[in-house]
Each structure stands twice: as structure tokens, then as C-alpha cells.
């Protein structure tokens, strides 16, 4: 079903990912007590264009991670739809479902749990290929080492258990793992908080290169507006489960529309005049 769409309109204006009216409620009825429902997403409309770099910001609890998880398919929304290249992901048949899952990847925030501590670095990165049954052992290892190298991880780390790597190293492994299956889109859910700033900058530069070369779509969820402003061309703001603003990054920085956004823009630290980088 996915392939047919691609053949039909490879350059159609349909966005890569389109979210419409998405609502997600948590909480369920318990025995003998009233259900307490929290609404994490409230009628969200959102889209991601191919090869774009979009930022998604908002206060904690505004629903950013929930949106990401719904897009990737880790959560099932209460109502609304998520469409990948025009097809509702819920209608994708199971065998295609795995294909879809490989096309959209997500990198999580917590470096400690993002890689199984018992796995070696190389095994962790090549896991997607192993699960999909792609290539033989040697090929998988080569692919893993390739991506590890491009993310600045030395080859000696390949057989080291993830237990013995630092948070920043593990986070880079997670990014390598997301890239190894040649996805079309990657969602970075606060993935850069664990990396120190020069390192984060290097990784972001590398990702920008990938975007150009492979038309990789990126969604960056985060807090650090200063960093996001440098990387993303578009920005969306979430508040209490809704998208309250969506603009190009330039116009946003000049004149943020929503009250919360104004707070966020105001809080970007800048060097005092007279200091140079």
C-alpha cells in the first residue's frame, strides 16, 4: 500500500506526515472507583514536510512526547488520524506496518535506558537490521561501525558493553541505531540534553548534512531554543495538548505570537555586546 502511493505521486504536495484532529486520553476505569482521565493531546493538527527540520517546543507536560509517540506508532490515539504519505497508519497491514516503523524512527531522551546495558555498542546499533533480518552478520557489523564512526565513536567501542559507556556516547549510539535502517524521518525527543554543547553542535551539523544528502526529515523536540534556532527552519509550539503556534523560524524569533512563545524567546541567553564567539 505504501509502495503504490509512492509510485503514483513521488513529488506530490502531500506532507510526509500529517496529523489531524489527534486526541489522546490517558486513564481508565478502575474497579470500584471513578476513572481519572488526563487529556494529553487535544485535537492536534500537525504536519512534517519532506526534508524539513522542524522544532517542537513547549512546557513540560504540554504533550510533545505523546505526539511523538503517536506519530511513531508506540501509542494509539483515542481519536483523530496520523497519515504517512497520505495513508492512515492504522490501516496499514501488519507486514507493511513493520516497514512503516522502520521509516520513522525516534530517539529518546534518557541515555541510560535507551540502550540495553547488556548489549555491546555494535550489537545495539545493528539491532534494527537484526530484527528485520537484513544482511548477514558481517554486513550488519560493517554498517554499525560505519554509522558509529560518522557519529564520532571510535571503533574500539564496538565490542564494549553499553554499561561502560557514558551517557553522551550512548545517546550517539541511539542516533546511529536510528540511522542504520535508512529512515525517512527521525524524531529527536530531547535527545541532545545529555550531550555537551560542542558535541551536540557537531551531531546537529552532521544531521544537517544528511538532510541535504538523503532528504532526511527531522523533528526536534526540545527546550533549548538557542540550539534549535540554528538548525530548524520551522517551529511549532505546544501548550496543554494543543499546537498553539506554527511559523517559520525567522518570523518566530522576530515576533512570536503566543504568550508562552514570547517567554521562551525572551529567555534565550545571548552574549553581551562586545563579546565575540
Amino acid at each position: 500500500m505504501i509502495e503504490a502511493d509512492q509510485k503514483r505521486a513521488p513529488f506530490s504536495p502531500v506532507p510526509l506526515i500529517a496529523v489531524q484532529g489527534l486526541t489522546k486520553d490517558y486513564g481508565r476505569g478502575k474497579l470500584f472507583s471513578k476513572p481519572r482521565i488526563t487529556r494529553a493531546l487535544d485535537n492536534v493538527d500537525f504536519y512534517l514536510e519532506r526534508a524539513s527540520a522542524t522544532a517542537l517546543i513547549g512546557a513540560s507536560g504540554s504533550g510533545k512526547s505523546t505526539l511523538a509517540r503517536c506519530i511513531v506508532g508506540l501509542e494509539r490515539a483515542t481519536s483523530g488520524s496520523v497519515k504517512y504519505r497520505g495513508c492512515d497508519i492504522r490501516r496499514i497491514r501488519s507486514d507493511d506496518h513493520w516497514q512503516y516503523r522502520r521509516k520513522i524512527q525516534i530517539v529518546f531522551q534518557e541515555p541510560a535506558t535507551t540502550i540495553n546495558p547488556r548489549f555491546t555498542a555494535e550489537a545495539a546499533v545493528s539491532e534494527p537490521l537484526r530484527i528485520a533480518g537484513i544482511g548477514n552478520r558481517r554486513e550488519r557489523r560493517e554498517a554499525a561501525l560505519y554509522w558509529m564512526d560518522r557519529l564520532g565513536l571510535p571503533t574500539e567501542y564496538a565490542d564494549r558493553p553499553a554499561l561502560r559507556l557514558s551517557g553522551g556516547e550512548r545517546q550517539r549510539l541511539a542516533i546511529a541505531r536510528a540511522l542504520i535502517s535508512s529512515p525517512e524521518a527521525i524524531i529527536f525527543d530531547e535527545s541532545f540534553s545529555a550531550l555537551d554543547i560542542p558535541l551536540a553542535r557537531r551531531v546537529l551539523t552532521f544531521l544537517a548534512g544528511l538532510r541535504q544528502a538523503q532528504n532526511l526529515t527531522c523533528l526536534f523536540i526540545g527546550h533549548d531554543l538557542a540550539m534549535l534556532a540554528q538548525v530548524c527552519s520551522e517551529i511549532a509550539v505546544m501548550h496543554a495538548g494543543r499546537i498553539v503556534e506554527r511559523q517559520s523560524m525567522q518570523s518566530f524569533l522576530r515576533s512570536p505570537a503566543h504568550r508562552c512563545s514570547r517567554e521562551l524567546v525572551r529567555s534565550i541567553p545571548s552574549l553581551p555586546s562586545g563579546w565575540t564567539a
Binding site: 481508565r28 476505569g29 478502575k30 474497579l31 511513531v72 506508532g73 508506540l74 506496518h97 513493520w98 516503523r101 522502520r102 520513522i104 524512527q105 525516534i106 529518546f108 534518557e110 541510560a112 535506558t113 535507551t114 540502550i115 540495553n116 546495558p117 547488556r118 548489549f119 545495539a124 539491532e127 534494527p128 530484527i131 528485520a132 554499561l163 541511539a174 541505531r177 535502517s181
Partner: protein, 333 residues
């Protein structure tokens, strides 16, 4: 990697279980054999030096349980004694050690019927250890299944199972057990009653392992690497095999190490109270029951010895559980 204490604990446990398996071979007397003339006899003194100050390589005992110094009975090894079936298959009558009749060798003294406590201790270890393992396995298996279902599916099923576990934990287990034992006819064949009882004990103890497994499942289900594997299309089976079970396994083994001694104690208590295995089959519990009589308490201190093996087994199990728990804790989070 393995600390000395843990290694010793494992060694002792292996020895105890080995002795239990080879109980008939290691015991000089049958557990039911009575020598009424030696009722409540103290442990036989073993000597290497006789009254003429001669040293003998082979240890010996004096006649009449040490009182008659005129008769000397050397201890023979790999000697003939009562016959039994080895592994229930072929008959054998060799034993590790023994003395020729009419000499007697009561390493741990005798009870009111003149039965050798050492032999009974060995025979009883079979009963008590089996009880511990059987009940622990039942408890853990049932708890793991219910806890896993509860944690994985959530929802109403989870709520129901958790409520039931709260109820189960809220009741005093001993009272419930005794009440449950009452529902078995008092004159049922001892082995049946015993097996049923142990199974009930094990099944009643499902709540704590269930809560543990549920917590484990809940936390493991949400780990970053499990979610990541789901995003690249991993099946439930793969997740369980590769990510969830290895972590859960170490916790479950630790639980096992804690449950086995607990259930051994339960069996000992029940048999002591007269609700477990019946005479003449010995268990560490019903051997202790004799101590309740005043005259026994006053004059026959060796009757308290059956309390030592459960303590030793428990100590070893707890040591192993501690070391397992601290090793599992080495994995961050």
C-alpha cells in the same frame, strides 16, 4: 567475581542437597528402626585413643552407647546395614559408615523410641527440602504468570489481580493455612495430605511474587530500549527473549533464593504443630515436636538439633540471595 561467602554458601547447600539425595546411603540406621533400650540416649562419643592410651587409626565407640568400656566397636566404612532402594531402582545395603551389632553409633543421639536422630535427620531433609522447593516453585510460577499478565495488559484485569493480591496479603497466612488444613480429613493418607498441604502453602503465597513480577514487567515494558526495539518492528516474542526476560530472570532467581527457606520453615512449623507429615516419617519439624515435653527439654538437649539444618539452609540461601541482588544492582537503574 564470586565472593568467598557466596561460594561457601553454595558449597554448603550442595552438600546438604547431596546428603538428602543420598540419605539412605549416608544413614547408618533406618528412620523407623527402634532400639527401645536406648531411648533418649545422648550422642555416642567417638574415640581415637583408648583407655590404654593407644591411638587407633580407625575411630571406635564403646559398647552400650559408650557406657560399657570393655567392648570396643570400630567404625567401619562402606559397611553393610539395612537395605533400601537406591534412587528407587535397585536394592542396596551399603552405608557410608556403621558399627557391628550389638554396638550402636548414634551420632546425634536418639529420641523417645530409640530411633537414631542422625538417620532421621537425613531422611527428614528429603521431606523438608522437597517441601521448600515444591512450594517455592508453585508460588513463583503462579505469581509470575499472574503478575506478568497483570503488568503487561493493565486495565481491569490488572486491577482485579492486584485487589486479590491485597486480600491475599492481608490475611495471616498461618491462620489461613491451619484453617485450610482443617478441611482435609484428619485421617487422609499422610503423603497425600502432605503433598496437598505443601501445594496449598505454595499457591497461597502467590501474592508477593506476583506483585514483584508485575512491577518488573511494568518498568521493563517502558524501558527506552524496549520501546526503541518496538519502533523497529520487534515482535513481542523478541522483546521478551532478548530484553525483558534476562533482566527478569535475575530477579526471579533471587526471589527463589528467598522463597525456598521460607517454605522450608513453613513446613517445619506445620509438621511441628502436627499438621504436616505424620509419624513415623520424619521431617525436621515433627522431630522438634518431641521437645515440647518438659522432661525432654530438661534432659535431652540433642533433641533440639533438628532446628539447626533449616537455619543453615536459610542462612546459605539468604547469602546467595544477597549476592544475586547486589549483582543485579550493578546494572544501572
Amino acid at each position: 567475581m564470586i565472593r568467598v561467602k557466596t561460594a561457601i554458601a553454595c558449597g554448603v547447600l550442595a552438600t546438604v542437597h547431596g546428603l538428602a539425595l543420598l540419605a539412605n546411603f549416608a544413614a547408618p540406621y533406618s528412620f523407623a528402626a527402634q532400639k527401645r533400650e536406648f531411648a533418649f540416649a545422648p550422642p555416642t562419643a567417638v574415640h581415637w585413643i583408648d583407655r590404654h592410651a593407644h591411638f587407633h587409626w580407625r575411630p571406635f565407640v564403646y559398647g552400650s552407647n559408650g557406657e560399657d568400656e570393655s567392648r570396643v566397636y570400630p567404625i567401619r566404612f562402606c559397611t553393610r546395614g539395612y537395605s533400601y532402594r537406591f534412587a528407587g531402582l535397585f536394592p542396596l545395603n551399603r552405608h557410608v559408615f556403621g558399627v557391628d551389632a550389638p554396638g550402636v553409633l548414634f551420632l546425634l543421639g536418639t529420641d523417645g523410641f530409640g530411633r537414631d536422630q542422625f538417620s532421621r535427620l537425613l531422611a527428614g531433609s528429603r521431606i523438608s527440602l522437597t517441601a521448600g522447593w515444591l512450594a517455592a516453585i508453585l508460588s513463583l510460577a503462579l505469581g509470575a504468570v499472574l503478575g506478568g499478565i497483570s503488568g503487561y495488559h493493565g486495565g481491569l484485569l490488572d486491577d482485579l489481580i492486584m485487589r486479590m493480591s491485597e486480600i491475599s496479603l492481608a490475611l495471616p497466612w498461618l491462620y489461613l493455612l491451619l484453617a485450610g488444613r482443617a478441611f482435609l480429613p484428619l485421617d487422609a493418607p499422610s503423603s497425600t495430605a502432605y503433598l496437598v498441604l505443601i501445594s496449598v502453602v505454595g499457591i497461597l503465597g502467590w501474592a508477593r511474587p506476583a506483585r514483584l513480577v508485575r512491577g518488573l514487567t511494568l518498568s521493563l515494558r517502558e524501558r527506552g530500549y524496549v520501546l526503541a526495539a518496538r519502533t523497529f518492528g520487534a515482535s513481542g516474542g523478541y522483546l521478551l527473549r532478548t530484553h525483558i526476560l534476562p533482566d527478569a530472570l535475575s530477579v526471579l532467581v533471587t526471589q527463589m533464593a528467598l522463597l525456598v527457606p521460607q517454605y522450608i520453615m513453613a513446613e517445619v512449623t506445620l509438621s511441628f504443630l502436627g499438621l504436616g507429615i505424620d509419624e513415623p516419617v520424619p521431617s525436621w519439624g515433627n522431630m522438634l515436636a518431641g521437645v515440647q515435653h518438659y522432661h525432654v527439654l530438661v534432659s535431652s538437649w540433642w533433641m533440639l538439633l533438628p532446628g539447626v539444618p533449616p537455619a543453615v539452609v536459610a542462612l546459605c540461601c539468604f547469602t546467595i540471595a544477597d549476592s544475586l541482588a547486589s549483582r543485579a544492582g550493578a546494572i544501572p537503574l
